[in-house]
């Protein structure tokens, strides 16, 4: 090994050493892997600052809320008791892309963070279709800055309790603030319209007009109106928070702005929820390859690689199902799939030729990028999970029917089971399957303005009644009128079994 070529092989970092490493990593990332990334902003922070970041979704600026205080306390506890060690987890989808380097990290770890976050994650943020469609990296930080200021001003003007009341209610609907079923083309059109709507102050005042016209319709048309009127909303609306923002007869302008803030931040986080495996997998895959490239070029020594590999191994470790609280590790799954893509492209077996004919002989870097940028978790798994990875991870399917006293294992890692396992694993990474499907079904515009929400289940799973009632109270608080929640199972286009929860607006606690 030509020791003259070596980058600084120290444990302690200095800004100069970091620069030297970044230059090399950058060269490899942009020249060998042709990664297109946002300009990087590497920020050196203390561990206390890291805890601050952890507690508010990792963002450098955010509005204040007690839930972040609770999260901070939990993080602090975990850190103090030695449970936390994810040094390379905070990177922001923004332009420039901000990555945090903890001051306690050794130099090798800083290099790892940079390769992983500032190049791996950064590339996904900039190129993945979901991020491109749903987030605006150029303006998010400005938006959050506006949000923080606006909410603080509201606290001054209207009182902390009032603001907390609205924020709490909005937070309970944080997973029902998306348009899932919308094509990317329609989405950008819709966002343009939304942006126009937002800018149009007068537009909001039209809500009052809307309700007045509804009242007029109710009074004047009588029976004639009944035929023409298709019900409101005409189609069920899955973005409950947006519906409330647009149509609530009860909210003041400033409250609607708060709803918009929560909705917009949730929309911003949505792609990250849908691409955990893709994002972490690609970033891990990148850091693994780039570090090896540094070693191959003689820029780092064995001691350096030892530390890197030790950390890497910890991160991609997958504990088996019988460990308490175990779930599929997105780092492990993602990394394994990407490594496998490389193998299939460069050194395929007969099984690979059968399962992935379209990948054979292709450039593995191109395929990896394609996989990372054109997919989200469920499509990524459905397309690229191979029998080999299924075997390596010993994946199996398990069915737990609540009416049954036994759990059954229909599929294991063999010829008969691969397809079913791949389908199920993809399915459970689709956020639509994890979140209960609840939509605004109807609003009594001609009557007492009761909102009816409908929960539809395909597999007979009902909602937890306690949390559902509490959440309906939040909806009622925002809506200003009674709320009814229907629960039903859908089978072959028919609805069966309807449970009902009713929340009266008069029962909702006002802010004190």
């Amino acid at each position: 090994m030509n020791r003259d070529k070596l980058l600084p092989m120290q444990s302690e970092w200095t800004p100069q050493y970091i620069e030297q490493f970044t230059n090399e990593i950058d060269r490899i990332a942009t020249e060998k892997y042709k990664l297109d990334v946002y300009p990087n902003q590497l920020e050196i922070i203390t561990s206390e600052q890291m805890m601050d970041a952890y507690s508010s979704h990792g963002m450098p600026i955010f509005y204040n809320h007690w839930s972040f205080g609770k999260s901070f306390i939990t993080t602090q506890k975990n850190y103090m008791s030695g449970n936390m060690n994810l040094a390379y987890e905070i990177v922001i989808n923004s332009n420039p892309c901000i990555s945090y380097l903890m001051e306690d990290n050794t130099l090798p770890m800083q290099a790892l963070v940079i390769a992983h976050a500032a190049y791996g994650h950064n590339a996904v943020f900039k190129n993945n279709y979901l991020f491109k469609a749903r987030t605006e990296a150029d303006s998010i930080l400005d938006f959050l800055s506006h949000a923080q200021k606006f909410i603080r001003d509201c606290e001054q003007k209207y009182g902390e309790a009032q603001v907390e009341y609205i924020l709490d209610a909005c937070h309970t609907l944080r997973y029902h603030a998306f348009d899932h079923h919308i094509r990317p083309e329609d989405l950008s059109k819709k966002r343009r319209e939304q942006r126009q709507h937002d800018k149009d102050e007068a537009d909001r005042l039209n809500v009052d007009e809307f309700w007045s016209s509804m009242d007029r319709l109710a009074e004047s048309d009588g029976d004639v109106g009944l035929e023409k009127f298709k019900g409101f909303p005409e189609e069920p609306e899955e973005n409950i928070l947006q519906f409330i923002e647009k149509y609530s007869p009860n909210l003041e302008l400033w409250q609607k702005e708060i709803v918009r803030i929560v909705r917009t931040t949730q929309e911003y986080f949505y792609p990250q929820m849908q691409t955990k495996v893709v994002n972490e997998g690609f970033a891990t895959f990148m850091h693994y390859n780039i570090m090896h490239d540094l070693s191959d070029e003689g820029l780092v020594d064995e001691g350096f690689m030892l530390e890197i590999l030790a950390s890497h191994t910890g991160v991609v470790n997958q504990a088996p199902y019988y460990y308490p609280g175990v779930s599929i590790n997105p780092y492990a799954l993602g990394f394994n799939i990407f490594q496998d893509i490389k193998r299939i492209c460069t050194d395929p077996t007969d099984e690979d030729r059968q399962w992935f004919p379209q990948l054979i002989g292709r450039d593995w870097i191109e395929v990896a990028k394609e996989a990372a940028f054109e997919h989200r978790d469920d499509s990524f798994i459905a397309q690229y999970l191979s029998p080999k990875v299924i075997r390596d991870m010993k994946l199996f399917n398990m069915v737990d029917d609540s009416d049954d006293s036994l759990i059954s294992i229909p599929d294991i890692h063999n010829e008969q089971g691969y397809q079913a396992i791949r389908e199920q694993l993809a399915k459970q990474h689709n956020i639509l399957n994890l979140l209960p499907s609840i939509e605004v079904d109807d609003v009594q515009v001609r009557g007492d303005r009761t909102m009816t929400l409908a929960y539809t289940s395909e597999d007979g799973t009902w909602l937890d009644e306690d949390t559902a009632t509490k959440t309906c109270m939040a909806v009622s608080a925002l809506w200003g009128f009674d709320v009814v929640l229907l629960s039903r199972v859908e089978k072959d286009g028919e609805y069966y079994g309807s449970d009902e929860i009713m929340v009266k607006y008069s029962d909702v606690d006002p802010p004190f």
């Binding site: 990334v37 309970t172 175990v326 599929i328 937890d464 959440t471």
Partner: protein
């Protein structure tokens, strides 16, 4: 090559989470107040002080609910890792808790998974909550939270400072030295040169020698004059300022004697009031002294020194002879606490009752102790119904005894108050601070 920058944010400090943590604590006010109350009941007074207090809150009040599927219903399918024993088609019994094995990353998973949420209040936060209960005025709160006393001592000199701290002598001395080092020409010399120049100039005609001399003088004079202009008489660098440093006052030690009547008439409510009172006094002393010792003395018809646990919780009964307690205090002070080294406080809690014949004896005992102590704080506690043992309007024997002493002019060292509820305990402290 893409561009990047490295920013060192460490000096920005952390604290973004402080408003969030405050909001969280505010929201839990009631829950925390309850927890604080329980903590005081169950913990030793000394323990409460160290590195904060652990508080447990029930999780329900701090969750943000969302719509959740109830996985005890319906059919749940999942892909799990690490299969080493199952074959396709196997069936297994469900584990006891009825939930399926393995898991899927669930959206909306908040929290620890335990039933209670625990966190630690710092000592200051704990004092805040404790006092909210007692409704102490802010002045008292800030006094109790105050760190040690500091005093200013001289600590050398510095180049910077307040004009009022300018040390003239040193500064001038420095100026002289600088001028000398830079060879500032002395005024005298310049004057002499100027005089000679004038003299020579007046001579007409001049000899060659004189001409040379004059030219030389003129040149030298010009040089010196310009140098003199360049070198200031007094320069910023000459100035020296006196520096003062704050050092903590070498704190003395304090000992607090806790005296409590444990006759049958003191119930758990009365004892609880007393405990809070003792605790507040202890905090006050803790903030002002390096070391505070506590001695616990219970008395009924005789006095006994005990540890804190026994002091508050042991059941006892009997008649009441107060003097026995003060005699014991006297002895302990004489034997163990030389007055030159110790500041002595006495906190006395009772329901006021005393054995009739003992009053004058007691008065004597207290009088003996008085000159040795900084302060005696007496608190008379009564039961929940608000009646003193003897009924309203009747001064208790003990109270009467203290009154007598106060009438004798010893009022400066005695504070008396009565409390039936927690919020009245602060009066004792107002009195304590009014004095000094």
């Amino acid at each position: 090559m893409s561009n990047y920058i490295i920013i060192d944010r460490r000096k920005d400090g952390s604290g973004k989470s402080i408003p969030n943590r405050e909001k969280f604590l505010k929201r839990q006010r009631r829950a925390i107040a309850d927890a604080v109350r329980k903590t005081i009941k169950n913990r030793e007074i000394k323990d409460i002080n160290k590195s904060g207090v652990k508080i447990k809150i029930n999780k329900d009040s701090i969750e943000q609910p969302v719509f959740n599927k109830d996985y005890r219903t319906g059919v749940r399918t999942g892909t799990n890792p690490g299969n080493v024993i199952f074959e396709s088609g196997d069936e297994i019994y469900k584990p006891e808790d009825g939930e399926g094995q393995g898991g899927q990353g669930g959206a909306g998973a908040d929290g620890d998974g335990e039933d209670d949420f625990t966190f630690t209040l710092t000592k200051d936060e704990f004092i805040d909550y404790f006092f909210k209960d007692l409704e102490l005025p802010n002045m008292v709160k800030s006094t109790l939270k105050r760190v040690k006393d500091y005093k200013n001592v001289r600590a050398g000199f510095s180049e910077q400072g307040n004009p009022s701290n300018l040390d003239l002598v040193r500064s001038m001395r420095n100026a002289i030295g600088r001028r000398a080092a830079l060879k500032l020409p002395k005024k005298k010399r310049l004057k002499a040169m100027a005089a000679e120049i004038e003299e020579l100039s007046a001579i007409d005609p001049r000899t060659e020698e004189q001409e040379v001399r004059l030219l030389q003088l003129l040149e030298d004079y010009a040089k010196l004059e310009s140098r003199a202009k360049r070198i200031p008489f007094l320069d910023d660098n000459d100035l020296k300022y006196r520096v003062h440093k704050k050092i903590p006052n070498p704190a003395n030690n304090a000992v607090m004697f806790c005296l409590m009547d444990v006759s049958g008439s003191m119930g758990s409510h009365e004892k609880d009031l007393a405990k809070r009172f003792f605790f507040l006094l202890y905090l006050f002393l803790e903030c002002n002294y390096d070391m505070v010792e506590m001695r616990f003395i219970r008395y009924h018809h005789e006095a006994r020194e005990v540890d804190e646990e026994t002091f508050f919780y042991d059941r006892d009964s009997g008649g009441t002879i107060v003097s026995s307690a003060f005699d014991m205090v006297n002895d302990i002070i004489d034997n163990e606490y030389p007055l030159s080294d110790w500041n002595i406080y006495i906190a006395h809690a009772s329901d006021g009752d005393n054995w009739g014949d003992d009053i004058s004896v007691c008065q004597d005992a207290v009088s003996k102790v008085l000159p040795k102590v900084q302060y005696i704080s007496y608190i008379e506690v009564c039961n929940e119904n608000g009646f003193f043992y003897r009924g309203p309007g009747h001064t208790s024997e003990v109270a009467e005894m203290y009154h007598n002493l106060i009438n004798q002019g010893k009022g400066k060292y005695i504070g008396m108050t009565a409390a039936a509820v927690y919020s009245q305990i602060y009066e004792a402290f107002v009195k304590l601070f009014k004095r000094g």
